[in-house]
């Protein structure tokens, strides 16, 4: 399956944090032709295994997306929403959504009309509590079709822009799941010693639980977490963003320096550009929680730069995604038992 086609399908398939079933099936089906075994575990992690005799390596990207949840049905049929993960309320006014009640329903996010607002009110951002979802249905019908706790997915639109850029929702982090898929495809034609696990993890957006549990279950010798980081846009604070055109490999106390150095050697040998981000503490990705599983797991983090993170128009460079897959496949082929001796010296 072509990566762009996969990404288009994956970002449109629902998989909110904690309820990733539909997208887990989609991803498992895509992984299947390229692995010896693909399983969906009882918490919705998708685990693909490409067997080898050497050290065990786990690559992971998260499957789940942020979204909303119905928290109350008002007497006029409008719905109030709560967050599932960190949705910025500023993107909501005028947003089209799908409410997963007894059937998928189209909803629009509404707010107090401008002509009804005071001068003061119109200078402030809308708060989520002041917004509602309009289903265009009378309250009796709403109550038949919708319940408190029903999930709400943001609008899925995949837009191709200039110069190989695309904008879509949930590039965080399904663009990296696409990278895993492409790496697995490339590995079909490559020799490797390592015992490889490619995992699409669940529940990252609420606390990286899928990654923690996968790290515990698989107990790899090394782990490579994949996530997205911020692309440069006006007004961003210093040292917090990178250009879209190349991957970013983090450095810092949560990243194993020796494993990272091996990654950089592979990148250099294959002419793959890699930028550096210095992270002095928590990376706020799956890497943080895999790192401390069992007795500890040497972990590194590779990130795809994205502009407008956590909106429905997350923008990335497809070429960077392809280069990322190339880097992962060559890294997987390079993993060797001799790395162990160098870990702590």
């Amino acid at each position: 399956m072509h990566i762009e086609e996969f990404l288009r399908g994956a970002t449109a398939t629902p998989g909110l944090t904690g309820s990733e079933m539909a997208v887990a099936e989609y991803v498992a089906a895509a992984f299947r032709p390229y692995a010896d075994e693909v399983k969906i575990d009882r918490l919705n992690n998708v685990v693909a295994h490409i067997k080898g005799d050497g050290p065990k390596v786990m690559f992971c990207a998260h499957l789940d997306e942020i979204g909303l949840m119905v928290v109350k049905i008002e007497d006029d049929g409008s719905l109030r929403m709560g967050n599932v993960g960190g949705v910025d309320p500023r993107i909501l006014p005028g947003m089209r959504l799908t409410v997963y009640g007894r059937e998928p329903l189209l909803g629009i996010v509404g707010a107090k009309a401008p002509h009804l607002q005071t001068e003061e009110e119109s200078q402030k951002n809308y708060k989520r509590e002041d917004l509602h979802i309009d289903l265009g249905l009378p309250v009796e019908r709403v109550r038949e079709l919708v319940q408190v706790g029903d999930l709400v997915m943001l609008e899925a639109r995949f837009t191709k822009l200039q110069n190989g850029h695309v904008a879509t929702k949930t590039a965080d982090d399904r663009a990296c799941v696409a990278m895993l898929l492409k790496a697995m495809q490339l590995l079909q034609g490559m020799r490797h010693k390592a015992d490889l696990y490619f995992v699409a993890t669940c529940q990252e957006e609420i606390g990286s639980y899928g990654a923690a549990m996968s790290g515990f279950n698989i107990e790899p010798d090394y782990a490579v977490a994949l996530d997205v980081c911020h692309g440069t846009t006006p007004g961003a604070p210093p040292l917090s963003t990178h250009k879209l055109g190349a991957l970013v490999a983090s450095m810092g106390p949560f990243i194993h320096p020796v494993v990272r150095a091996k990654l950089m050697d592979v990148a250099k040998a294959h002419n793959i550009e890699v930028q550096t981000a210095v992270v002095p503490g928590r990376t706020s990705t799956d890497a943080d929680d895999i790192n401390i599983q069992r007795g500890g797991i040497p972990t590194i983090l590779l990130e795809l730069p994205l502009k407008y993170m956590h909106t429905t128009v997350e923008m990335l460079d497809m070429h960077t995604l392809e280069e990322g897959a190339r880097l992962l496949s060559h890294f997987a082929a390079a993993v060797d038992a001799s790395w162990e001796e160098e870990l702590w010296t």
């Binding site: 944090t17 904690g18 309820s19 079933m21 575990d41 009882r42 918490l43 949840m69 119905v70 928290v71 109350k72 109030r80 709560g82 967050n83 599932v84 509590e129 319940q147 408190v148 706790g149 529940q203 609420i206 639980y209 899928g210 923690a212 549990m213 996968s214 515990f216 279950n217």
Partner: protein
Amino acid sequence: MLRDTLKTLLSAWGPSGGEHGVADTIKELLGGHVDSMRTDVMGNLIVEKYGTDDNAKRIMISAHMDQIGLVVTSVEKEGYLRVHNVGGIGMKASEYRRVVFENGVEGVLVSQPVQQGEAKLKDMFIDIGAQDREEALSMVQLGDVAVYAPEIFSLGKHRVSAPGMDDRCACALLVELLLYAEDQKNTIVGVFSTQEEVGLRGAKVAAYALEPDLGIGLDVTAWGDTPETKLPDIKLGAGPAVKIMDSSMIATPMVRDALFDAAEAAGVAVQREVLPFGGTDGAAIQHARGGIPSGTLSIPCRYVHSACETIDMRDMEGALKVLLQFVNIV
């Protein structure tokens, strides 16, 4: 009976780290009625009632014994005690509140006027009626903990109010489940956990060691049926709540749905809970080891973390019926 068990447990003294008195009370209530009972290194009381099925699943059901409290960190030379919170103590709920230590010493938690902003815990002290530091230290020690003094009363026909309802009402529920479950299909591993209020610590240790097949947290949840408080959309007396999501976990859909099924089979109306804050033992079980499918059943409670936490006994009775059904159908 549920109301009697509740009152007995509400009268026990037990902040995080000092739950032994509550555990002893529970041991007395359960002794002779269960298949096994033991205490682990964290002080969790672990009680098992075996299931009849050959492939019985081990269901860990956790209710925490600890309540919030205040620990003595220093004594002023005039005999006033300076304190730090143990668990989530609210400032408003604390002002001029009667508190009590394990050894029975009572005191008043006093809030002092501050120059700017609101009084914080460091601006408060406990007055135990001592003349000076020496007398105070003959009555209590550094590190001793005080809790809101128990005061149990009824509101109308169905409601009960007291400090420590969080989470003694769930402990009462678990006690009754263990007493009345008979020949149920699955094995109930009841965990009366410790130190939940300071970070789900007891349940983390218990879940890791027990490795159950499924987990259920039992706790209180907030309310949305008083003036100005509309969320979460939970009402007292409208039935126990099946948790869909809170800050600490998203209930595993399979377990959450099994709770809804159990409620339907038991003929109990339940509410759907979405909480934008809070955490329960259910999360500790779900994230243990390689992940354990888990959910939480909640008792709607008004004025949580005050000295007048209020619940409706009809919600408790409904919850008991749901649990008795759940351990048979899952």
